[in-house]
Symmetry: C5
Subunit: 356 residues, 5 copies
């Protein structure tokens, strides 16, 4: 749960359940409600302006899909909820845009929460918004926060063009298609994340620095966030499969199994990224310590060679009256030779020890 959501959520404490408060950022100004009404032959599209029109939408034999963008207008949602007979707690959850993916069976309809992922434009950081689906007998309601992008557009196009079998199948297949659209979108997000991970890996080898560490940690945290957004989806989809709700036809089962597989693949990929980032952390830390060791060795080699030489020079810099070596003809060159010999011996020793 993000900080800002926590703040709003904590302000709700003490209010009776079902009290409607919008939790989350207001991501769009206008609320748009697009109605698609179709069966195999016909398909009509309209924009809902007055929520009293909802009544007319119920009980039709055709499949009706109402897609609402923007969930901050409490009153509109409340009226809509009344009209479709939604439980107050469902409307409350649609407004609280910090739910985990979940599925709830209310008998006459299923309430499904998903999280749609989006990439921040520059930094590529991942954020998510809540998508709520209501699957009734002949209708699907979808609620998006409406930030940017619309992953449902391809589904809409398929309905309009009667592409695939979407027009032949019922509301449950529509719900599946919307879930599938959300999951498909994960792959796009993951691909971008993969690029960032690879870029980081290259930086790690070419020029690791404290910034690299910060980036590894921030990506790791993103992976944890992603995992939390996607992991419960497994149970949602397998819950839909297992459920003996009359709302889900048997034939849709195969498709749900397919989207389940995709979810597993997404989770697998996230896990792989996490493993890679953990490995990168290890490599970073050990490269830092390698660098320290390299610095260390230079210090040792230089210091160990010159300290004895300096001492030798110091000895012959003493002012004793009686130092016979000082008067020797070749005393000075002899000291030079001794110094060179010591230095050479050290170097050979270090080479042998592979410290150089």
């Amino acid at each position: 749960m993000a900080r800002h959501a926590l703040k709003k959520r904590s302000r709700k404490a003490g209010l009776p359940p079902g009290t409607l408060v919008h939790i989350g950022e207001r991501k769009t100004d206008v609320i748009k409600a697009v109605v698609l009404d179709y069966d195999e032959q016909n398909c009509s599209e309209s924009v809902l302006t007055d929520y009293a029109q909802c009544i007319a939408l119920r009980g039709k034999p055709t499949v009706t899909w109402v897609d609402i963008e923007g969930v901050h207008d409490i009153e509109a949602l409340e009226r809509m909820g009344h009209c479709f007979g939604l439980h107050p707690l469902v409307v409350e959850d649609i407004l609280n845009t910090d739910q985990r993916p979940k599925i709830e069976d209310y008998g006459e309809y299923l309430y499904i929460v998903l999280r749609m992922l989006t990439n921040g434009s520059e930094s590529g950081e991942i954020s998510s918004e809540q998508v709520s689906l209501i699957l009734g007998e002949n209708f699907v309601l979808s609620f998006q926060e409406g930030a940017k992008g619309d992953v449902f557009e391809p589904v809409r196009t398929r309905i309009r063009n009667s592409k695939g079998q979407i027009r032949k199948l019922g509301a449950d297949y529509l719900a599946y298609s919307l879930i599938d659209a959300v999951v498909d979108n994960y792959f796009i997000i993951l691909e971008k994340t993969g690029e960032r991970v690879e870029l980081l890996e290259e930086t790690l080898i070419s020029d690791p620095g404290p910034e690299t560490l910060r980036l590894i940690h921030s990506l790791k945290r993103e992976m944890v966030y992603l995992r939390k957004s996607v992991w419960p989806l497994r149970e949602v989809v397998s819950g839909m499969q297992r459920r003996d709700s009359i709302l889900i036809r048997e034939s849709t089962g195969f498709y749900l199994r397919d989207v389940y597989d995709h979810t597993i693949q997404v989770i697998d990929t996230i896990e792989t990224f996490r493993d890679m980032l953990s490995g990168m952390l290890d490599i970073y830390l050990s490269s830092i310590s390698n660098r320290t060791n390299a610095v260390m060795k230079v210090l040792t080699v230089i210091a160990t060679i010159f300290i004895p030489l300096t001492w030798l020079a110091g000895v012959y810099g003493m002012n004793f009256k009686n130092m016979p070596e000082l008067s020797w003809q070749y005393g000075y060159p002899a000291v030079w030779l001794a110094m060179l010999a010591i230095a050479a011996g050290m170097v050979v020793y270090f080479k042998k020890k592979k410290w150089w």
Copy 2:
């Protein structure tokens, strides 16, 4: 289990089960028992002074809520227990304020233990007190330790003002409302904790020190404590949902699922904080080691440059009779030049190796 509780608890060893000993700190002086008696039309409020009045409260068709603050008066609780037909072990558990959240089915009533969280006023450290609920057919008993704050006040207000549907529904809905009030309070606590974590994160970047380490560890320990207080609540709530007790109506199920979701969100947030703190520990340790490396490098650079120079100065400080260089016209400037050349060479080498 806290130390002081352990001490009291260990003193109880050897006493027969059901022996009533108050374990915990006495948090309030006066014991207050407020009785709320309501149905859809009426609502009366009174303060219980004589525990013999309890008898009169049983068997009414209205919903009766007795809220007791302060659990150190063993005798009063014992009489109350007798009056409502509570098992001696239940009374014992109400007195031992170090229980984990749990639910126990005694046939005629359910015994539910929750932990309410409070923030220490200055340090913001989290502590908890025990809230015991007894849900009978037409009554709810609630026992608080009565330290500070009263998370049940909003529920009381809703009953008085007949806000929401609380007056229309039974004792099980009241019990749910009390649990919900406790869980809602968690969000307030978590928000404050979130602030502390963020503050710590800023300190970690601006000015990390041993104190930061201590704070990270203390916050981590708090998260473990929190987790232990909240985690079993999941099972309590899902236990209430699953239970085919006649005490819980089916319609309350939806509300319990809602509070279950909130509990999951609380646990999720705690986990996120734990992850953040673990990451901060990593960053702290690596920033400390970075600092050591920086110190190291300066030492190496300074030492490695000046050690050979000092040796060179030492050589020409020797007192050999026969040192031709000493008499050369430009011997002295030549040595200076040599020294500058060595130093410059080193600096270039270090720059190339990126050690500077």
Copy 3:
């Protein structure tokens, strides 16, 4: 499994099952068998001297409790086993005092193994001994190794004084009371351990040393040992609850649930201690590395200041004929000034970098 037990155990290899060998240290010299025979009205106490008397104890309508201290007398136990119809494997297990807590249903009786904890007198190190219980229809046999302390004394007193309801209830309640006595004793042990952990925590802050590390590790190992002794008890107690053995009356179920809760609390406390010790390990290691860093910094500061100064002194210690500075009037004070300037510059730099 402790080393000495492993040694004895391995010597048993190859013998047929049911071969009776005492594994463990002989902890008492005399074997004491105290018989308590009671119902609601009467209570008689006697000491068993001849194991043939056992026969007389069976089949009585009263509850009979035979408490045996010392399990190294193989022959006596064998005769006792015959008399109460115990399976040879049960007698074998009573003798092998290194069992994990377990419950085994032999139809006519339940065999329960517990571990009783004791504190070493000086060091406070925790050791454990095996307590075996046989719960038959109207009798309970208890076998202790008989080292020191007797946690069953309070139970005996309650029977003698008819305190609580112990005299009114059957053998299963007696068995519960004995288990409860063992679990209650854990709290006493844990309190002492808590004191040791706190003491260690203080030492960690005031004066950490290699000894601290050793103590942390030894306490951690004790916690692992404790956990192994207590953890399986959960299953033993919940096994007794679930079991539809006719030996356990329904009314005892509440009490078993209570002792189960206590076991969970004990395990929780052990886990908390483990967490604390792990945190202390982290703090210890990081305080050691902090200390190294502190030492490091002093070295760096002193060395980095004086190495250039020494070089400067070396330069003017050279013996070149032609060194004009040496003859300058203020050459010497100028060098002193230069040295002070370099030192001051360094100090300022270090202060700025916060290395001092």
Copy 4:
């Protein structure tokens, strides 16, 4: 999921389910479809050129095995799918060569996905390709990506030569044989990996370097990849065993249990390699730190011996007028003696401390 697959996969987002897109690298140019048709007496072999011939293959009493190599020809696969009545999602999965091993029951046929492992020729790095099996009543379809090697050749030979009982048993035994061939191949791959691990272990002892670290990490990542490819196979095989599909005869159960055991052995071996690599990582890090310590010690010993000596030489290099030692007859040798004594003392001290 590999990067290139992620890229292709993300491009598929928005297309209706069952849309056929080949995901993976095109590993072969020609698509080869070999048909083996056999019963106990006869065995005929042909190459499928026109996919309309498929119709003729259905409904025969003999066992028909169609082995397709190359899965990038979407159209051919689509026609084949139509002909054998495959669900569009199955054909889609055959094309998406990045599936995890799985088994799906479509009533009339089972769809099984396996991963076949191959070693990169030079580096020995492990890659995998997807093998899809369709087990129908009298037929088996197998789809390989067709990179290199053909693990099915031995099975084909056995059919041709009527070796073993393969000709006597049905399509389910054939499917088992193919799975067994894939699992047998794992052992070959693992043997090569084992060689690489051993080689790395030797390098670790003889000449550890940053390259060793990189290799350990890359092998660890390969093990994770391997594990992901093999682990779900357990469930696939045990799923086939448990399944009460009429497609799998009881007698095949024993063989499936055998292949299950092999899978467990493969996973065990992978785990062993992972453990070995983790141990190697520990040894690498500690050998690096040992090396630093060794370097450290030399520095300490040399510096600690010569620093006091240099100071002593410095003292007698001072130019004070009044330094009586300088005029002493044996001043100079005395200083030498003092220096030797100090050096010897240090050496003895270090030897005693075992720092040398």
Copy 5:
């Protein structure tokens, strides 16, 4: 799976299932097959020379135990398998001596695989060999690799001497006795391992070195190997208990529960050793780092004391014409005093900081 086994195993790839290849080292030259035939009254012992004699062994009312040592003679085993009606996969598994412990129900007989542990004579390193048991209605076949030691000898002696109840009970009790003999042997192995762990612990305190690290890691790896050999045995034994095979009488259940307990004890002990070794690793690493710190401190103390002193000596070694101190009467002693004062100050400072 060991490397050599992997090599042999990978060579088997492609052969049809049931192909008999011996995998493992040939551990004995002659194959010995000892037949024990007994009932309560009689017991005859013979050596099987011709495997056609097997036929005569079947269908007798007495219990027949055929103990085969050496499993590399493929032909002999094949004929034996035919004679006792064993499935080809069972014979294959007997030959592949790298199985994990497992139990397989073939209806008419149970196939049980165990691993017997042996200690390498000098190093004490643990290796294991495979023991296969076939439990039929009136017969038990046991297959050992026949390296060294014979843990079945005590069982044989008990049968010959009619010790215990082994002669009175059936083939299932015999099978239990053999499993028990194998498990009993584990305790002997564990005792030796315990000695090695203790020895290592002492070395760790008295004289830790790189060899100690290597030993810790090798023991840890042995523990992992042990665990893998013993862990699945739990399921084997509990599988025998649960199994409603007519081959296992109810009375044997108690004995199986006993051997199950022993298995748990073995696993517990292995876990304890692992924990101890992990703790030793921590202590080793921290003792190494303590040593580095100690070395560090000596360097710091010596260097920090002498570096300023050397500088001071250098100052008065300068050759400036105009250095008034040099001519002072007590200049030289004054410098000595200053040096002593500086050194003493440093020592006091270090003492206070507890760095000495």
